[in-house]
Amino acid sequence: AQSVTQPDIHITVSEGASLELRCNYSYGATPYLFWYVQSPGQGLQLLLKYFSGDTLVQGIKGFEAEFKRSQSSFNLRKPSVHWSDAAEYFCAVGPLFGNEKLTFGTGTRLTIIP
C-alpha cells in the first residue's frame, strides 16, 4: 500500500529565510507526487506535481520540489519565504495508472516570524 510521511509536524521560519519541507513516500512503482497548500479554513491548492522527466519541478508561488528516487523523497523548497506562505502543507502520492485516490501525508504547519 502506498504511504506518505511528513516527518515535521510544525516548522517556524523567519520571513526571507529559505524553506525545505520534507516528504518521503512508499510505493511499489514510480508514483505521481504532489504538494498541496491549505490556508486556514480553506480547501487545498496544488503547488506542484511530478509525473516523470526532470526531477526538479517548479510550481506556483516560487516553490520547487526535487524527486529523489534513491531516497524515496520529494522535498519542497522555497529560497525566500513570505508571511503569506504561512499555511499547512501536504505531500501526496497517486498511482501512475488507474483511477485510484491520492494518499496524503499528515501535513506540516508552517509559521513565519517577522
Binding site: 506518505v4 505521481y32 498541496y36 479554513g41 480553506q42 480547501g43 487545498l44 491548492q45 496544488l46 506535481k49 509525473f51 501536504f90 501526496a92 497517486g94 498511482p95 501512475l96 495508472f97 488507474g98 483511477n99 485510484e100 485516490k101 491520492l102 494518499t103 496524503f104 501525508g105 499528515t106 501535513g107
Partner: protein, 114 residues
C-alpha cells in the same frame, strides 16, 4: 470559471442523525472525489465517482455513501453519525478519472457532530 463549490459551509448535527453534503464540480469535469480531513490530519479518501459510477472507495464504513448525478454534481451521505465523523469534508473534481489528472479541491464542508 467557477471552481468547485460545496454546500453547506458548516453544519452541526447530533449523534445518530443523517447528513447530506453537496458538491458541484468545475464545468466540464466528470470525476468527483470525496475526502475526510480530521483536525490535524491529512485528507483521507472516501469515494471517487466518474460518469455516475463509483470508481473507488476508501476504508470507510457502509454508513458513508455517495452518488453522482447526470450533471456530474455529487452528494455524500453519512448515516448514524458518530462523534468521530466530525471533520472537514472535501470534494475534488478532475477532468477524467486517471491518476495523472489534477484534482481541484473545494473549500470543504465543516461537519460538527455533538
Amino acid at each position: 470559471d467557477a471552481g468547485v463549490t460545496q454546500s453547506p459551509t458548516h453544519l452541526i448535527k447530533t449523534r445518530g442523525q443523517q447528513v447530506t453534503l453537496r458538491c458541484s464540480p468545475i464545468s466540464g469535469h466528470k470525476s468527483v472525489s470525496w475526502y475526510q480531513q480530521v483536525l490535524g490530519q491529512g485528507p483521507q479518501f472516501i469515494f471517487q465517482y466518474y460518469e455516475k459510477e463509483e470508481r473507488g472507495r476508501g476504508n470507510f464504513p457502509d454508513r458513508f455513501s455517495a452518488r453522482q448525478f447526470p450533471n456530474y454534481s455529487s452528494e455524500l451521505n453519512v448515516n448514524a453519525l458518530l462523534l468521530g465523523d466530525s471533520a472537514l469534508y472535501l470534494c475534488a473534481s478532475s477532468l477524467d478519472a486517471g491518476g495523472r489528472d489534477e484534482q481541484y479541491f473545494g473549500p470543504g464542508t465543516r461537519l460538527t457532530v455533538t
